[in-house]
Each structure stands twice: as C-alpha cells, then as structure tokens.
Amino acid sequence: MRRVPPPTFVAEPAEADEPSSSFPSIWTFIAIDCTSFGLFFAVFMWERMPQAALFDASAKLLDVRFGLANTLVLITSSYLVALAAAAARRGDLHDVRRKLGLGIGVGAAFALLKLTEYSLKIAAGITPQTNAFFGYYFGLTGVHFVHYAAGMIVLALMLGRARRASTVDPGLTSLMISGGIFWHMVDLLWVFLFPMLYLLGRVQ
C-alpha cells in the first residue's frame, strides 16, 4: 500500500509553483497578447471605415487559397500538438514524440506558404507602402509571423526535451501544456486575421 506523505510535505513542496496557481501562469501572456491583437484589429477596422472601397479592392488582390491553406495548416498542427499534450498526460512518451514531430512538420508548411506569398506580392510590386491596407497586411501578418516563429522554436525545444526524456515527468507535461497553449494562440490569431484580411473585402 502506498504511504500517504505527511501533510506538511504536501503543503510545502520543495519545487512548487505559486501556492494558489493551479493553471499555467502563461495565461497572463496569452491574455495580454490577445488583448494587444484585439486592439490591432480594432485599429484596422477603424481605419478601414473611411476607406472601405480601397481596403476591399486591395483585399481582392490577396490569394485566398494561401490564406485558407495556412488556416488548415495551423489548425491541423495545433490539433496534433493537443494530441501530444494528451499523450503526455497519459504518460505515453513515444506518442508525445510522434505527435509533436508531426505537429512541427505540418506547422513548417505555414512558413513555406507565407514566405512564398510575401515573395509573390513583392515581385508584383505590392509592398507595405502600396497603400494603407497593404501596410496592415504586411504589418499584422509580420507580427503574427514573429509569434509563429517563436512558437516553432518552443515546439522544437519541447521535442528536444521529449527526446532526451526517458519517461514523461511532470516538468515535461507542464512544458507540453504551456507550449501547446501558446501554439493554439498562434493558430487562434490567424483564424481572426484570415477573414479580416482575405475575406472581408469579398463580402458584398
């Protein structure tokens, strides 16, 4: 029979998080980052109002297929990372490595598609200076891309940790959950950016 640890040990573990925090503290970052993007979206919509015709005409120059493909890429990658976190909770290290590796592989397609799209736009003479819409297009997707790149680095660090581990320890599970939350945010922000930049101008 397992021995129940004395109450003092339970109350004051040597390596504990804040006593009251049962959820990952990364939520502070998520909340404030999403608030910032919320403000960015509000600024975009505010500036769009007096020049809706220009914004709509410019949005039509974007290739919806790229935007849609990237939405599917990020949602799939996010799903795979969620499965990896679930595997970590089950203690299935092999599945953690497999799902995380797949999540990174699928996620890499986003960079390929986005950079191709940027190159095609610049080759066509469309830059941030073209007009206000494209200023926002490059600005907002650029800021999102920095988040995406940071997320890929976090996922790579998670995979490195999972590869070195011999079992799923609480540290790895916690990392999988926190890193996963960040990756879902990257996905969520794109889910807002895609209709706002690519689709809004097409709805009449």
Partner: protein, 241 residues
C-alpha cells in the same frame, strides 16, 4: 553586518524618476504627445519644430541628462534578480547590460533631437526633419536591448522556486510579452503614416504606454521585493551565527 540592499531602494527610484522625466520633459515639453507626424513635408515639419524650439530644447535636454536613470533602475533590478538566480548570474548580467544599453538610447536620441534646435534660425527644413528621423530610428529600432532586458528579467522570475515567489509570475509573463511586443517598432521605417508610423495608433499609442506601464509595474514589485530579500538575508545571517 552590512545590508546588501542598502542602496538598491535608492536605485529603484531611478525608474519612477525616468518616468517623470519622460512624461514631463520628453512628452510634454518635447512636443511628443503625439510626436510630430513623419508624414508632413519638410517645411511643415520644421515649422512645428521652429514654433516650439525653446520648449523642445529644454525637453530634450531634460531627457538627455536624465536618461542615465534607466541604467540606475536596471542595477536595482539586477540586485533583486541575483538572489533569485542563485549561483549563475547570466540572467541578471544580461538584464544589466540590456538596461545599460537601453539607457544609451534614452541619452543619444534626445541629444540628436536637441541638436535639431541648436541652429534653428539657419538650419534648413530638410536638416531639421532628418535629424528628427535619425533620433527616432535610434529611439525605436534599438528596442532589442530592452527586449533582452525584459526577457532575462521574466525568465529569472519564472525560475524562482520559492513557495511564494519574490516577484509574482504574472509580472514575468508581462515582461516576456514586452520583450516580444516591443519588436513591433521595427515596422516603423516602412511607414510615414498610419498605425505603424512612429506617431501611429499601434506604434505610439499602444506600444509606448505598454512600455512605460511595464516600468511602473516593475518598479512597484521592486519596492515590494526589496524588504522580502532583506528579511531573507537577515534570516540567513541569523542562521549562520
């Protein structure tokens, strides 16, 4: 026994001091609330500077002289980080260098804006405008030094394993957010108008209040952390004797 935190509280006042100088000298007197639009032509831009040259001169002189307080504030942060870090001092050193280098831009950029008023009677409009552009490039595009500082501070707080952390972890996450969020200023060279311009809704009205707001939060938690560390130090001292 000497109190290792004897001057730390004094240094921590460097943050609020710089906040006051930034608001009063740089923002109000320096005519930066909001900054003069980079979208104006040289003549219109220089006319605004000429009309407010005396105020701008005093404002920029104030920040050039006071910018060093950022480094002083950074030293207080490092002294609070050191006991959190334990034997390694990589993060507290990175923070100190980040703060020290950031303070240079609080000194050099306003000195360049100050220079734009030095020969205001004879300087051409283009020269005045270009000097302001150079100042802004130094002020905005050099933010990675502050990013390094805030990231090191954030990671250090997150690695604090005390049952009740000296500084709450949400403060760390806002620091990491700031480290990333400041990089948005890198878009500034591409825009003379709009939200990403140096006077724009995002690059000025969101990023700047977030930066100075974080200075307020860090300063508050520095003042809360110092007595905790003093008590910890006293308890360790008693345990040794």
């Amino acid at each position: 026994m000497n109190n290792p935190y004897q001057f730390v509280r004094l240094c921590a006042w460097g943050g609020p001091g710089l906040l006051f100088i930034s608001l009063f000298f740089w923002a109000i007197l320096g005519h930066n609330l909001p900054p003069i639009s980079p979208g104006l032509d040289a003549q219109a831009f220089a006319d605004v500077v000429r009309a407010n040259a005396d105020q701008i001169r005093i404002g920029m002189l104030g920040l050039t002289m006071g910018g060093v307080l950022y480094m002083v504030w950074g030293l207080a942060i490092t002294k609070v980080m050191e006991p959190l870090e334990g034997r390694s001092n990589v993060l507290s050193t990175l923070q100190m260098w980040g703060a020290g280098m950031t303070s240079m831009f609080f000194i050099i950029a306003p000195a360049i804006w100050l220079a734009s008023t030095f020969r205001i009677e004879t300087a051409s409009s283009e020269t005045i405008q270009v000097l302001h552009d150079v100042g802004w490039m130094l002020f905005d595009i050099t933010v990675p030094t502050a990013s390094i500082q805030f990231a090191a501070f954030g990671v250090c707080i997150l690695s604090d394993r005390r049952r009740v952390p000296v500084i709450p972890k949400w403060v760390a996450w806002i620091g990491i957010y700031e480290a990333v969020g400041l990089l948005i200023l890198a878009l500034m060279p591409f825009f003379r108008t709009g939200a990403f311009a140096r006077d724009g809704a995002i690059n000025f009205w969101i990023v700047f209040p977030a930066f100075f707001g974080y200075m307020v939060i860090v300063s508050i938690y520095l003042f809360k952390a110092i007595p905790k560390l003093e008590a910890e130090e006293a308890a360790q001292g008693q345990a040794k004797t």
